[in-house]
Each structure stands twice: as C-alpha cells, then as structure tokens.
Amino acid sequence: MRPFEFIKPDSEASAIELLGKLSPNVRILAGGTDYLVDLKHTADVPKTVMDISRLPELKGIDEVDDGLRIGAGVTHTEIMQNPLIKKYAPAMIHAAHTIGAVQTRNLGTIGGNLVTCVPSMDSGPTLVALDAEVNIVGKDGTRRISLTDLFVGPRKTSLKSNELLTEIIIPKRSLGKPANFYKFGLRKGQALALVNAASSLWIKGGCFKDLRISIGAVAPVVIRCLKAEKYLEGKKIDEKLVKEAGNIAVTEAKPIDDFRASQSYRNDLIAVLVTRTINAAIDLADKD
C-alpha cells in the first residue's frame, strides 16, 4: 500500500467542504470493510483518504415527516438492533444479518454497502423493494434521488467525487409493508450471494397491491423486476401466478456464467427466490 494523507473531519459541513476542495483526488472511508480491501491491492491510491465514520450527522435512525431516515453511517449491527427498523422494516434486519460476519457488520455501514455498488450487495434488494430514496449532499446542496437511480453499474454510482451520501429514506407508504429478503450463498455466513431477492406487497381485497420485486447479483446492478410486478399487480393471490412471476423475473435478469455458478443455475435460483419471497410476504400480510 502506498502512502496517502488521512483526514477525519468532525462534521458533515466540513466533510463537504473538504470534499469540494480535494476532489477528485480524495476517497471516502466509512467502515472500511470494502475500501480497505481495495486499497491494499489497487495501484490507484488517492492523495487523500477522508474518514467519515465519526460524522454525527451520518448516524442515527429516526422517524421523520416523510418516513424513516437511516443515516448512511449506520452499521449493519445497528440496523439489526434498532427498534424502529424492527417495527417498520424488519426484512432489513434479516438482510443485514446475512452480511459477512459479526466483525464485518460491526464496522460496515449501509452507506458503504450501497456506494460500493456490487451487484450482490445484500442491503440493496430490500431497500429497493421498499422504494427507498437517498439524500446526497455536495457543495451545491442536497439532492434526493430514488435508490435505483444511485446504481449505475457494477461498482459505479451516480455520486460525484465531491458528494457524500448522507441518508437513506424509506418513504412513509412503505413503513410496515410486508416484505421478505432471501439470500442464496454457498454457506450461511461470510458468503457472497449467488442470487438475492426481496419482495414487498400489500393485499387488498385478496389481490396484490403495490407489489415490488427486486433481485441482486444477477444483473450489473440490483434491479426491480418490473414485468413480474406488473404481471401480478391487482391479481388475486394464487400460488401458480406467483410461480409464473418468478419465471418472468428470470427474463428481466442477465446473470453471468462463471465457475461460481452457471447462468442457468442462477436463472433457476431467481425464479425460486422470487417465488419464495413473494410467498413469504403474503404470509406476513393482513388479508382483509
């Protein structure tokens, strides 16, 4: 690892200012569980590494006017232990629990997970299925975008090098929405998802309403399965239809074929996981 300058601002404002000044020769470090691994191997060592792990503004999980706010600096462990998450988005707890091992979850942040933007990120599908949005702050102010618009490609987001992801917002309409996350890896812990998936839904009059299906590790970024959603939306709950939605989801993905898993296996897993997450969400839903 080549030498670099290390800075640790103590407020969001000074972090933004420093970013503005130092960009593009600066990189952000949160928990470091992704970035330090990279830094050890890359030839592209930045001039400055800015540690944001202590910024108070990036911490905390709160109920706000437009929903639930999760600071980008919140760790996976904090998510697992948070009562508001438990109340409003318990599928996130399950997703967080599948990430790495205890040590990784103690350090790794939700912001870091989203910004690293690997297709297999485990916090992505649930958040997408809950229509999450993100706040991004730069020297020109704050912008709010949908989470899916943050994802551009493998390890590529729409963040500019002078911008900070500050918070994730789960909109009010999604709070308490029945949802389920499923990760399929080669062992229980410390495993990369071969496929992961999340679904959320309401049931109104025995029919699917606001169904969201999101899958990861099978396309350049975490995606929403719009066709599968559309296929079920408004239809009566029916096992066969759910199964068909799983098959439709397969057509929306483009999994790779490598020694970890073949494309056809990944495709089959998509169908199985989508079906299972929808069925699990149905089980959670009030069926009035």
């Binding site: 229980k188 495993a191 073949s262 296996y265 089959d268 897993l269």
Partner: protein
C-alpha cells in the same frame, strides 16, 4: 484421580491462547529484522526468458534480491521426496526443485525471486517492479485430462506425466476372483482437491550467527527435528549442530506443515547473505498458492461379489495429482492410500495401482488423513453402490463383509495386520444412536415440507502412529517436572495430556508438569506430530520414561532409606519399604538426587528418565459415522441434520480433548463433502478458488451438533492401549455425508455425485435425472 488418565481435564494451554499470549513465529521481533517477500509465478507453465531486478534493487530500503541463478551459484541443495521402495513399481522420476526456480515456472505460485527489504511493504513494492519476461506454455492442471494422457507434458523430456507408481496386492488373484464372481460393481471414484487453511499462515524467520557459524530457523512447522535434518544435510550441507530449528506456538498444521518449505531455506540463506535476521510471513491469499494442497485422486474401481453379497475381490487403479514439484511429503498420501484399501472389510484379493502424476499445480502433500480418507471413500462408495446393485440393505451388506472381532488379529490381502477392532458392534451402536429405524418417518416429515431426506453410513479404518519416538522426563532440584517431547503440539493439547499422564504415572501434581517441545537445541531427537501418533507413540514412550524414573527413584530411595532397591515399592508418588511405614515422596527424591557432594556416583545426577517406543505396525483406529441430510430440491442446498460417530480410538486419556479432535476432524471431512473445492481454470491454469470467498470452508452455523460416542477397544500394540485419534473424524465423514446425499436423491434417479456436493451440482444432477 483428579486430572489423571481418563479425566475430561480442560486444557492447560487455553488461558494463554485465549488471552492472546501465544507466541507464534510472527509474534517474534528481533533487532535489525528485515523482511522477505517471494515474487511468485503468475503462470501455470512458462519459460523464464529473463528477469530484470535492477530497478527494484535500486528502490530505497531494498537490501537485496535473490533469484534461482543465485541459488545455484551459491551451491544450495534441492528439495525432494522420499519414495517408498517397498511399494514402488518401476522407476521414480522427480524433478527436485530449488527454493527459487530457474528457467521454468511450472505452477502458479512457484517462487521466482526473493526480495529482502527493510519492511514488508518495501519488499512488496520492489517485487512489483521486477520485470520478468515469460514465454507462456500450455499447461496441464486437470487430473481427469492428465490421466487420459490428453495434456501437455509438464516436464520436458518425459514421456508421460507419471512421476512414480505405487502398487500392492495380487493382480492374478483378483482376476481369478472377478471371473468367478456373481456381481461386479464398477465405478470411477473422484476425490476432489482441497487445501488446509491452517488458522496461522506459515511464517519463518532465519538467523545466522557468523561467529558460531550457526543458523537458527523459526518456522511454523510440525516436525522441527525433521526440518533440521533435511535442511542441514540436503540444502546447506552443514552439520545438524549448525542449525537450530524452533517451532514455537503453531496455529494448526494438519500435515500441511509436516515438512519444511522453500521459504524456510530462503530466510536462512538470505540471513547469511545479508547478515540480518529475515522474516517471511505468508498472507492468506499467498497461502492458497503456496501451502501444499491435498487429495485430488481419481480411481477406477471394481469390486466383485459372490451370489451371497460377500466381497471376493477389489481392483483399484488410481491416479494421484502430486503437482508440479514433488513436495517433501508428496509420496505419503499415495502410500497410505495404497496400503489401506482393504479397510474394515474381509477382502480375499486386492490389487492397487497408484500412479502419481505431475501437473501444473501446487504440490500436494498430507492433509489430515493423508491417503486414509481417499481409500475409505472408495470402499464406502462401492459398498453403497453394491447395496443398490445387489439390492441388499446398506447395513446388511456391510455386516456380511466387516471383519468380525473373532477374526482378530486379521491379516489383510495387502500389508497390514489388524490387532483389534469390533467393527460390527460399532456399526450397530451407530445405527442405534442415529435412530435409523425411524428414518422413514423423518423422511416423510421432510417430504411434507417439500424436501428430500437421506441417510448414509460409512464404516472405516485408518492406520495411525508411524515411527518410533523419544520422550524424556526430568525433575529439577525443586521437584517440578519437565517433559521433553519429541512430538509437537500445535493445537492438540499435549501439555495437558502429558501432564495428566505423568501425574498419573509418577504421582506428581498435574500443575507441576511442564512441556518442552519444538526446539532442536532442547529436544535432541523427535519426529514431531503427524499421522495420529503423539499420544500413542509419544505417550507410550512417556510411560517407558516414567518406568525409568521409577527404577532410578527406587535406587535413590534404597540409598536414603538404607535398604536394597529391590525392597522398595512405588505407589502413587511414594517410594516405601515393603512391609514397613518407612517411605519417601518422589518430589523429595528428586530434590535429594541433586545433592552436589557426598552423593554416590552410581546414583547419577538428578532424577530423569528417557523412554523410546517403537510403534511397530502402528494401530488401526476405526469407527462408523452416520449422516442424515435434508435437500432442498429446488435450489440443491443440503442441510446436514444429524451426524453420528461411534469411534474406537482405544483407551481414552482425555475425553474432552478427544471430542475436540473428533469435532475438528468431522468438520474438515464435512467441508470436503459439501463445501470445499480447489478449482483451477481449465485452460489457463490459474487458481480460481484463491480466497475464502470461493474456497468455502464451513462455519459453525452450517453444521449440526455432533453426536459422538466412544467405543474403546484397547490396542495391544502399545502399553497404553491407545489408538490414534487425530484423523478418524476426517476419514469417515466424506463417505457418510455423500452416501446420505445420494440416498436423498435416489428416488429421483440420481446415483452418484462428486464432492463437494454443492447446491449447483445437486441441482444439475436432479435436472439430468428428471
């Protein structure tokens, strides 16, 4: 007796390790320490056209850079393996290799240059700017292709890739048995390639004292005395007195650290060259491409049966992948494999041919089990296949063929004669423990949840306790005891178990026993720890050393109590005059034995004893394991629901430590069966499974609680009745688990699956069968 033999004593060494006070090689810091980094081949097979180190040498902080040419010009010797002449068929070809290669790299990870610098990162940075011009050649990494002769030749000039061939048994007798048989079960059995991943990666420090002309090597090694012998005699051609090898705390070895490695040579050589102590520390990613790998055997097997389901003959033609360079321990697994192919069964005629092939992969060498898991896997897969083909229940077909306890001692058709064992009783106990009779109900329950369920068993045996061993017991003038052990504990807990034994044998307090090991200047001779040998061979030597202490103690007691030594009795730490109340404690004897003047010369100086035990044919730990699995047919995922082991490791000295050995062994066996696989790129020869992301070792939450029962049948081969315990878990687990998985898939038409039985393989097998 508290803390005595047979007690579940907790480990003496645990507080140290749990509180981070262990002292591993990397914990050792020395004044003036410099760091070495090995630049390795990134190609599986290539000719080195040129190496340019000039820019790297100029980097500030670089002390020197060594290459294969320097190695030759400095006249250092090469690394090779010993091939067992009794098993060898035809000639053996090795390409003994230097600690740095020259001209060719023959596998990814082959050591090309050794960079020595003030810090490890400088050494790495320098390595990055060494220019090597490679001419890339075609490579051969896949054993299934290599055995069919469809690959390039690894070493130019050879006619085939076969390095050596081991053979045993009687081909004619087998042919005769086959022609008379009612059934023949045939299969090609694949034992996949795996790697150890000891918790502590390998690490070495070399020191050279120019005044004394003496080297010191700190190395994470299981057999320091063996390393000294080999490195002194074969590499540096110095007397063994000029090399001290110290293996301090070692974080797991499993056979992978059973021999020395090139890096041990490099740090010593560089220490002498640059007059600095040199440390080399493997990173985890480096360990994947430099620690020896293991297994990787494909065998064409045929087993013949009579009309009654009794085995009449076995033919195994096996191909082992030994890698590009024969490791010092490279011939050991093929040897045990060849010798143990009769297993627990009465097989009148056996023929084994084991061909060992060069490939463009990392060397293979022993890993927990070393040949024993490979042979047990074949026998137990064949038994299950026969059960299907002959339509005999898997338990019953084994019962027909297991050697009975009345037949002991049993001479196999290969080399070994088993002294003891109750194979059928053990199987029956395991079947009961696993509640086999109610399996169908559990299966129905799984099916009601949409899952498949399977149960499988494996009866197995292994050969343990090679070589002789020497142990020494010394009392100091304060009366405390030091055991100087030729064995080497690197996780096993010898300090605890030897303390238990000495405390039991000599009646001294458990707490007052200390262990010295792992330093060739302190342990004059010893064979280290491999092959489940320490408590059997080392422990027996300790018994003999204790007997010598008692004999000496009797002489001293006779002198002090003024009677003839013949009148002295020894019991639980006290020497007493028979029929009187005159007695003296062993601690007191020890103190008095150090009297400096006015002490009879014939009583020697101090109280000590040396025991040497010759293990002869060794012993044969055995057992039965039963695995039960549930399979998610949609994803192919296997959940191991239950794992039963009933094992015979002879007399149990410490059930807690035995449990630890069985747990670890089972987990490594299950790892191979379900999770772990070393994968090379089919054409380019790159190692693909080169980190824990893809080399999926199991974690605790992937495994059930194990149901472990001891069924001791003490061996007559040693005074303690102990059989080896280190490897039995690993030997039986792969076939038990695989048999269970295949049993679960049987109703869907799947009859075989290769290890590891990963979700995708199962998914694919189910689809193919449908």
């Amino acid at each position: 007796m508290k803390n005595g033999v047979g007690q579940p004593v907790t480990r003496k060494e645990d507080p140290k390790f749990l509180m981070g006070r262990g002292r591993y090689v990397d914990d050792i810091d020395l004044p003036d320490l410099a760091y070495g980094f090995v630049l390795r081949s990134i190609h599986a097979n290539a000719k080195i056209r040129s190496i340019n180190t000039s820019e790297a040498k100029a980097l500030p902080g670089v002390i020197g850079i060594l290459t294969g040419d320097d190695y030759v010009s400095d006249g250092l010797g090469v690394i090779h393996a010993e091939i067992n002449p009794n098993l060898l068929k035809g000639e053996a070809i090795q390409y003994p290799h230097a600690a740095l290669v020259r001209e060719y790299v023959k596998c990814v990870g082959a050591p090309v240059a050794f960079v020595v610098a003030e810090t490890q990162s400088i050494a790495k940075d320098a390595a990055e700017i060494i220019e090597i011009d490679y001419e890339i050649l075609e490579s051969a990494t896949d054993l299934s292709k290599v055995r069919s002769g469809n690959t390039p030749i690894v070493w130019e000039g050879m006619k085939s890739n076969v390095s050596f061939t081991y053979g045993m048994g009687d081909a004619e007798k087998v042919a005769a048995a086959f022609s008379d048989s009612a059934h023949i079960v045939k299969s090609t059995v694949v034992n996949n390639r795996i790697t150890t991943n000891a918790m502590e990666p390998r690490c070495s420090i070399g020191i050279f004292e120019p005044g004394e002309e003496k080297f010191t090597l700190y190395s994470s090694n299981q057999r320091p005395n063996n390393a000294r012998q080999a490195i002194a005699n074969e590499i540096f051609e110095i007397s063994e007195a000029q090399l001290r090898v110290i293996s301090p705390d070692v974080g797991g070895g499993f056979g992978m650290k059973g021999s020395f490695y090139g890096e041990d040579v490099l740090v010593l050589w560089a220490a002498r060259k640059y007059s600095r102590p040199i440390k080399w520390n493997s990173e985890r990613s480096e360990s994947f491409v430099t620690d020896s790998h293991a297994r990787d055997v494909i065998s064409d097997c045929e087993m013949s049966f009579d009309a009654d389901g009794k085995v009449t003959g076995l033919r195994v033609h096996a191909d082992y992948n030994i890698g590009a360079y024969v490791a010092p321990g490279g011939s050991i697994s093929p040897m045990w494999f060849t010798l143990l192919l009769s297993g627990v069964y009465r097989i009148p005629a056996v023929e084994v041919v084991t061909r060992c092939h060069f490939t463009n992969t990392i060397s293979t060498a022993p890993y927990r089990g070393a040949g024993r898991p490979e042979s047990a896997f074949i026998l137990e897969r064949l038994m299950d296949m026969a059960s299907n083909q002959l339509n005999i229940d898997p338990i019953e077909i084994r019962r027909k063929n297991l050697i009975t306890s009345d037949e002991m001692p049993y001479q196999t058709a290969l080399m070994f004669s088993y002294d003891s064992g109750e194979f059928i009783e053990i199987m029956d106990e395991a079947v009961k423990e696993a509640n086999w009779s109610e399996f169908e109900e559990r299966k129905k329950e799984s099916e009601s949840k949409g899952k498949l369920r399977g149960i499988g068993l494996a009866c197995y045996l292994e050969g343990a306790a090679p070589f002789n061993e020497r142990m020494e017991i010394r009392f100091d003038s304060g009366g405390t005891v030091t055991v100087v052990a030729g064995t080497h504990s690197h996780g096993q807990g010898h300090e605890t178990i030897y303390s238990q034994m000495v405390s039991d044998f000599l009646g001294v307090p458990y707490e007052s026993v200390h262990l010295v090991q792992g330093d060739t200047d302190k342990v004059p001779m010893g064979r280290g720890t491999v092959g489940s040998r320490s408590i059997t061979v080392g422990g027996s030597a300790l018994r003999l050393a204790s007997d010598e202490v008692i004999e000496k103690g009797k002489k001293i007691a006779g002198h002090l109590l003024e009677v003839s030594p013949e009148d002295i009795e020894f019991n639980n730490g006290t020497f007493s005059v028979a029929g009187t109340d005159k007695s003296i404690d062993i601690t007191e004897i020890a103190k008095r034995s150090h009297t400096p003047v006015m002490w009879p010369g014939e009583l020697g100086m101090g109280l000590e004893g040396v025991g040497v035990f010759q293990s002869g044919p060794g012993n044969f730990p055995n057992g039965c394991q039963i695995a039960e699995v549930e399979v998610d047919a949609e994803t192919g995922k296997v959940t191991l629901e239950n794992m039963v082991i009933v094992g015979d490791v002879g007399t149990v000295i410490n059930p807690l430590l035995l449990g630890g050995q069985i747990h670890g062994g089972l987990t490594q066996g299950i790892g191979q069966a379900l999770f772990e696989d070393v994968v090379y790129e089919k054409n380019g020869g790159q190692l693909l499974s080169a980190s824990f992301q893809d080399y999926t070792m199991p974690r605790a939450d992937d495994l059930p609680f194990y149901d472990i029962t001891s069924h001791p049948v003490p061996t007559k081969q040693n005074p303690l009745g102990v059989k080896g315990a280190g490897e039995t878990g690993t030997v039986g687990a792969p076939p038990a688990v695989l048999n269970a998985v295949i049993n679960a898939l049987q109703s869907k038409g799947v009859t075989d699956i290769e290890m590891p039985a990963t979700p995708e393989k199962i998914w694919l097998a189910l689809r193919k069968a449908a």
